[in-house]
Amino acid sequence: MDGDRRRDSRSWDWNCPQSRAQMDQIFFREQDYIQAGSPEHKEFWAFFDRFQRFKAKRDMSGSGVRGEVKEKKRTGSNKVDLGLPKEYDARYRINVSVCTGDIEKRMGKSDPRSRQRSSGPGPQEVSDCRLALLHFLDFSQKQSFGKLAKLRREQKNLPIFQYRDRIVELVRLHPVVVVAGDTGCGKSTQVPQYLISAGFSHIACTQPRRIACISLAKRVSFESLNQYGSKVGYQIRFETSRTAATKLLFLTEGLLLRQIQQDKILDQYQVVIVDEVHERHLHCDFLLGVLRSLLADRPDLRLILMSATINIKLFSEYFHSAPVLQVPGRLFPIQVIYQPIPPEEQPSRSEKLDPRPYLRILQGIDQRYSPEERGDLLLFLSGMAEISTIQEACQVYATHTRRWIVLPLHSTLSLVQQDKVFDVAPAGVRKCIISTNIAETSVTIDGVRFVVDSGKVKEMSFDPKAKMQRLQEFWISRASSEQRKGRAGRTGPGVCYRLYSESDYNAFAPYPVPEIHRVALDSLVLQMKSMDLGDPLSFVFIDPPPTASIQTAVTYLKDQGALDSHGELTSIGRLLAQLPVDVVIGKMLVLGSLFNLVEPVLTVAAALSVQSPFLRSSQNNPDCSTARQPLHSNQGDPFTLLNTFNAWVEVKGDRGGGSRKWCRRRGLEEQRLYEMVNLRRQFKDLLKSHSLLESEDRAPSGGDRVQRRERFTERKKLHQLKRDHEQQEGSKRKVLRLDEGQDGELSSGSDTEDKGRGRKDKEGQGQDVDIQEVKFKLRHNISELQKAVSTSQDLSSRHQALLKLLLCRGLYPQLALPDEHNSTRKDSEQVFHTRNKQGVVIHPTSVFASDPEVLHVPEDDSRETGPDRKDSSRHQLLAFVTLLETNKPYLSNCVRVPALQALLLVASSVDTNADCTRLVVDGWLELELKEPEEALRVLSTAISLRSEWERLLKAQLGQSSLREPSGQGVSRRDMEKLSDSLFRFLLYTEVNYSLQRLTAFQAQNLYIGPRGEPDSSYSEVPDLSPLFPGAEAKPDPIKGGLRVTSFFTYNCLADSKDLYSECLRTFWSCPNCELYMPLTPLERMHHEVSCRPAGELQGVEKESEGEPAGSSSASSLTRIYHCDVCNEDLKLTSTEILKHKRQHMFSAK
């Protein structure tokens, strides 16, 4: 037999591709279990080579001794004969067989011929190949079963496994169950699986973080042997893997809340698991409250709260003493060492952190532990500045000792840099990861043996008085402290160094302050209103927020126009509640939909809702700054973001994959741009679904058949790439270079790193797939995107001005006034004031920090009119997105707007004196105009523009709430006319005025207040309601004067002269009609608003033809007026009423 084979193999070369191809035709045909060309097929031939080598080796060494069962033993037993073959053959150990009878028959027939041909496979070759195939099948079976067995073993070893049946039983018996267990007990991955195995379906499991949703879905689908199916899915803001087959869905807390908004009783789920409830995020606390009241309507719903072993009683009691199941965690022992920082090394308030205490710990580790004993170090600091200080010092030490790789970790790092903390250090070297509290719960790094805890955290809090967010440093809580410590004992025994004393620790608060007590509640209150949850003050929260917080939010929402004066949702508010963004951003979107500014507004709104793409670390890199320069706009940061996004889309279209490099050159985090483009798309869809934007009813993606097919093929390829990537993911952790910590930050903009990394990737996995690029291409049609973007590129001055106005209106009341002395100050010392906070500065990342002159009043334009007053027509204000206090109160994302025009168009309170030369806006800004003529003109223009804007906006929103196909909505002509007038008002209002803040004294004595006795002369005051829709000119009960519109109160300022004194009347002739008479400023304004130029009025009349009476603006100018003197009902315009009254007045005199 052996001789046979040897003779044949001379003419048969297994290494020849043709030989293998011939075998493929026998064993790996289209219809076979393994097909030629498939991955398994490739694996088989690799296996085949190994198998042949193994056989050859065995033959050579002669170890192929046929094992014969020793007869003597067998005789000794009186048991059953198993009937095993006498001669051992490995083949007997394989429980599969491959029937290739059909082929063999064919082979048999052609046998003689094939034998003659030197290239054909003989029966020996076929049988060799079959044997190899059998072994291969057996090998793959063992491999897969091994994985399965390992998986099951790991599941069994989890601490929670013992409680499996108990958990299922509790859930069956109780509507609410609390499962408490510490890190590593396996609750997040196992509890959902236990429920599925027990027959539960439609399970939702919420997570505070999006990343956790994806990674848990991946892990659990793998563990439940469904990694290629969709039984387990996730759903986050832009992505979902949910299908009809999905039984278990991981989703964010915010998303589940939105689902409840749509589906009040949450019919789609049988079980809701709320994970990580102990983290006490705003959404989570709220979600618990909502679910608690929902349970009354859904007695069949099962609710499971999962928590670390922190404050469990609170949760149980909130749900009427729900049963608690406590699972021990799996932590290795951790030694705690208290090393309080000596007084001389304590940082004073202004100083940098002293690195000595931290360096001592590194040194100590080096002395005490041999480098062969692996284990990394995780160091917790409060913030970025602290991290970079300590990083610098540790890096010097690391370079010197060559035993450490220092890596920072915080959320503003690029994702590539963040990812480095998961890579492994070379032998003999430890990672020193310097992190914010992000590594406390959000990011889990394996292999940490040492933890250094500074005991500090920086937390955001909201100051309702200054309307400002504040980032302050605090001592952490005992719960956080334990959490940090626990990070040292995940993979083995560890050590935790606490840089505070044990008595400090004992003085810490037991738990961190829940988010609901720290942040602005605007969005929460808005959402509560839209969910019909009644008065937010009486809602039963697990830990109610301060009443003042809720009241502040209600006031704010009223200011924003989202709630009416009764606290009910307005139509715009209803819409805003459905947008998953800040109220101000939502407002921008709605406003943008009205004008032809949707595309740029979408981009800006998206850009302002994600973290800035500009990496802080690249700020000081001169190459980056130069490359960024063309993107900057001195109109404001939103415009810089707009330019950046547009340029990026351009690059994407032209060069596709080249965008990564383009971003690196400019110090941009491309991930943020991907987020923007996704968010932008979501906003667009939202606007469309609310009929605020016409949906393009073009054929899907257009193009002819060839193009469509091309696109289809491309998409197929992209999907494959995505799948391939997903399979490779996680299996490739790189080994860090010793110099890794040093380059990172500084050279992130250079190309050298690019090449280095690219090479590494190529070696690792054959091809360097930019998975973000792939996903981007799958999700977006680049040519459509480019088209959309091109409309917002090179904005005309008109569009730019309008866009600024929209942003300003959206951001209102977030306005800041430049200090009057800024032009004499250094660039770095420019100061601004908001209504509630004086002396704020511009964040160094803002364009106005580097270019503050554009905010100064030009010298040649201004006249000094007093010590602190400058008359100019060029005063500007900043509208800003955030006011955040860190070491100073900083404004970020600012846009500059012309002060007078912007205030008149967006402010919610404008008060004037009698001749309208003194304006006070929102009770804090004072504008003084020299010329009453000009003042009146500007004011009346603004009022009519605002009322038209309001009218169109209402029509637009009304249309969206009716969900009717357009027709009744806003006519393009009206809209264009308005945008044209707004633009002219913004750019060509050349009025000189001074702009200043009111002093405290002025603000106190601002108004004349209501008149003591009812004055008969009020009845003489013309009723102006038809002119200013939605408002009657009536005495203001608080300020005094006359409330003309919702935002405008005339003659209420304390310096005002008597409203009705005749001396204020001056003769005036109307340019549009023949009216000529003495009028007070107010009367004149009424007339101006109602008396349009002849041509304009005609246009209005023409347009309103055919519409039902009463809806046209022409007919609204007249109204029924009852004259007491004539005792008659007259149908007159207000000017005619005035004239009519005057007749009687004069005749009486």
Partner: protein, 117 residues
């Protein structure tokens, strides 16, 4: 695939020796879509969860040809040598197995002794 899995009642395979338990979708010698491949014993089979290919199968276990115990294919629970034998039966009839197998069993015993929880 998923729908059919949802419709069919959960059949669970459980190894009587190690307790490994997971649902199976087929029992027999000719799993669906395996073409020329046949099993030489009646097996509990499931779609291979670790392969993206829907048609790849995975044998979970079968019954011992001697004692009829349901065992998984893991080397600690059973072995196949022309027939399936649970490890208990193997140990009872060690003398009938060839030396290669005995050597392997001995080797495994040695290596598995320390440090398995």
């Amino acid at each position: 695939m998923e729908q059919s899995a949802a419709e069919t009642p959960q059949n669970t395979f459980s190894c009587q020796l190690c307790g490994l338990s997971t649902s199976f979708t087929y029992y027999g010698q000719k799993p669906p879509n395996t073409r020329a491949v046949v099993l030489l014993e009646e097996c509990f089979v499931v779609k291979d969860p670790f392969s993206p290919d829907k048609e790849k199968f995975l044998v979970l276990g079968s019954t011992c040809s001697l004692c009829n115990m349901c065992v998984c294919v893991g080397p600690d629970c059973s072995l196949f040598y022309t027939k399936r034998f649970c490890i208990q039966c193997v140990n009872k009839h060690l003398d009938q197995f060839p030396q290669q197998i005995l050597a392997e069993l001995a080797k495994k015993k040695q290596s598995s002794k320390p440090g398995v929880s």
